[in-house]
């Protein structure tokens, strides 16, 4: 009892910031109510199935194909977003041009726009008789009702994350070390690859992780552009919804649990990588 009191008092004395107790309480409350309880319910629901039933529900060929589409398209989309996001962030930070502020605010639009709208617009654009489709489809590029279409909308929804994470890091980049590299005889490519990129790579990876998380959970836009063909363009979230429409709640939950597990493992891997790179860059 007495030890406990001294510990709390010691903690109180050491903390410079006020309100440690109340802030930790609010944090736990929010995390419990918003994240832990819903996820536990999900796990409990899935646990009501036996192991064989669970496998039968979550590991069907159609479900496996849906996981593959979900993960594959999300990884590709996050990668594209990271590369494009770096470029856009670079332009926004380094180049002063008329309309820069406007472009800067446009970056956040995909976050505010209902993603279903984005999906509809994309499919209208890329169908055979659409504005872009009429040129692309004859070339064999199917933007609507295809895997490519899924990647397109996933890039659209995940790009803001990739940009916004890299942007502040680029802004705070030490210009002296770039100049030092130039003085030492490095050309532009060498300066970028050897000096700038190692410094921003941790941020690029963080942006990739956020974009990936966003893409994995996306539903609204994909459902309109992918065509939702089982085994081809059906993503896991769409499969979950169609199971729900068939009132197969347990099956839907099982698929959700697998998708969640895969997403979490992927994010853990990316974050571990990010931390390693960041430590190296210090």
């Amino acid at each position: 009892m007495s030890t406990e009191i001294t510990t709390t008092r010691a903690m109180r004395r050491r903390s410079v910031l006020p309100g440690f107790g109340i802030s930790i309480a609010i944090t736990s409350l929010v995390m419990t109510a918003l994240v832990i309880i819903p996820l536990s319910v999900l796990a409990l629901r899935a646990a009501s199935l036996g192991p064989t039933e669970f496998l039968a529900a979550a590991w069907t060929p159609r479900a496996r194909a849906a996981y593959a589409v979900s993960l594959g398209a999300s990884v590709v989309a996050a990668a594209v977003s990271s590369v494009c996001g770096l470029l856009v962030a670079w332009v926004l930070v380094r180049i002063d041009f008329p309309g820069r502020r406007l472009l800067d605010s446009l970056v956040d639009v995909p976050l505010a726009l209902p993603t279903a709208v984005a999906g509809l617009v994309y499919s209208t654009l890329y169908v055979e008789r659409g504005w872009l489709g009429r040129f692309l489809v004859p070339l064999g590029i199917q933007g609507a009702y295809s895997w490519l279409g899924i990647v397109l909308v996933l890039v659209f929804v995940s790009l803001p994350f990739a940009i916004r994470v890299v942007q502040p890091v680029l802004e705070s980049l030490d210009r002296d070390s770039e100049e030092a590299a130039r003085m030492l005889g490095a050309n532009r490519a060498q300066t970028f690859l050897k000096v700038i990129f190692p410094a921003i790579f941790p941020a690029v990876l963080t942006g990739f992780a956020l974009a990936l998380a966003r893409a994995l959970g996306e539903y609204g836009s994909v459902v309109f552009i992918s065509g939702n063909m089982p085994f081809k363009t059906e993503i896991a979230p769409v499969l979950i919804v169609s199971r729900l429409e068939e009132f197969a709640y347990a099956e839907a939950t099982a698929i959700a649990v697998v998708l969640l597990a895969m997403s979490i493992s992927l994010l853990v891997v990316v974050n571990a990588l990010q931390q390693r790179v960041a430590r190296n860059a210090q």
């Binding site: 030490d174 002296d176 030092a180 590299a181 003085m183 005889g185 190692p198 410094a199």
Partner: protein
């Protein structure tokens, strides 16, 4: 290699950073660009390096025009104030960087980097990251990195600005020795006059984008060309007096000033350095305000002496600063004495003293009035 700066001007928007500056740096010189912030000294250094382009004027190396040559082709070593080390690279890789981008053979890189590590006294620390080094060590890595490409000119931007006082002095002396060993033409920027005087062969004092004076530390210190230089070198008592018929008057005390032989009196600025003043105790008032004490009158320069009261006495390192108020004056006058002398004199605040200048500098505010 010698550097010739010919009529360089540079403006940032409406701010004139450099205004028609010309400067020659002979081969092997260690030159200091000294001035307050905004005086254009860093801009000049960056233009010589090729990190900034002049609006007009030329830069020459050994007579060859290099104005349009890119920084990476100038064979210039540059040391940044905040080191600008590559944080993700080891000390070894930092130093090797310039050689790696030149695709030098591996063995050559290894040998050169180890030689440089030895030169900057960082043997065995090649595997460390910059974050694991002290400020002084980091600046030595930055120097080794700049030297690795065998530059013909070494430029240093406030090289010791971010270091604490003790390390700064050590590194300064070490850099001077290093310069004597390798004899490379070097230019460094500083706002610290002590640093400039201790380190440099020649000092260039800059203000408002122009060169105020150039000379050896002795020349600049003993014969400041302009009031600005006098002020900037610091530690100076300024009074407003007048000049007339070959004499300047400071509180009624005449000082020889042959540069102004005219009969018409003009206001002048009179500068007295605290260490060029003598002080003697009088503790007596004369009815006419002049000093009666014979010892105070007995001054070799024949400048007369000034009665004053002691206000404060403060010890600062090896010297003691005595603040006085001359009779009838608004401003204070500082006198610096060696600690021993001050102890023997044992002045107390409130005592009466006579102050005798050994050396006085007079500047006329507007030279164009001089006929």
């Amino acid at each position: 290699m010698s550097i010739h700066v010919r009529g360089i001007s540079k403006a940032f928007g409406s701010f004139k950073a450099l205004d028609n500056v010309s400067l020659d740096v002979p081969q092997g010189t260690l030159l200091a660009l000294l001035g307050p912030s905004g005086s254009g000294k860093t801009t000049l250094l960056r233009i010589i390096a090729g990190l900034e382009w002049p609006d007009s004027g030329r830069i020459e190396e050994d007579g060859a025009d290099i104005t349009d040559r890119h920084a990476r082709q100038r064979e210039v070593g540059f040391v940044f104030q905040h080191y600008a080390l590559f944080r993700h690279m080891s000390v070894f890789e930092n130093i090797a960087f310039g050689l790696r981008v030149r695709k030098a053979p591996k063995q050559e890189i290894e040998a050169k980097v180890n030689e440089l590590l030895h030169l900057v006294r960082l043997d065995g620390l090649g595997g460390r990251k910059p974050a694991q080094l002290s400020g002084g060590q980091r600046q030595r890595v930055a120097l080794a990195r700049a030297l690795a490409i065998r530059p013909k000119i070494l430029l240093l931007d406030e090289p010791f600005g971010a270091l604490d006082a003790k390390v700064r002095v050590e590194l300064r002396q070490w850099l001077r020795r290093l310069h004597d060993e390798i004899g490379m033409t070097s230019v460094f920027v500083t706002h610290d006059q002590e640093e400039a005087f201790e380190l440099a062969d020649e000092v260039v004092v800059m203000n408002h984008g122009k060169i105020e004076q150039r000379g050896t530390p002795d020349e600049v210190f003993e014969h400041p060309a302009t009031p600005f230089v006098m002020d900037f070198l610091g530690n100076v008592n300024l009074f407003h007096g007048r000049v007339e018929k070959g004499q300047a008057f400071w509180h009624g005390i005449p000082i020889d000033y042959p540069d102004y032989p005219h009969a018409q009196a003009r206001p002048a600025r009179v500068y007295l350095r605290p260490h060029e003043l003598d002080i003697a105790r009088t503790n007596a008032h004369a009815p006419n305000g002049l000093v009666t004490d014979d010892s105070a009158r007995n001054d070799p320069a024949g400048n007369g002496s000034l009665p004053a009261s002691v206000l404060r006495i403060a010890r600062s390192g090896a010297i003691v600063r005595i603040s006085c108020r001359p009779d009838g004056a608004e401003s204070e006058l500082h006198v610096d004495l060696p600690a021993d002398t001050a102890r023997d004199l044992a002045l107390q605040p409130g005592e009466r003293v006579a102050i005798t200048p050994r050396k006085v500098r007079v500047f006329l505010p507007d030279p164009e009035y001089v006929i």
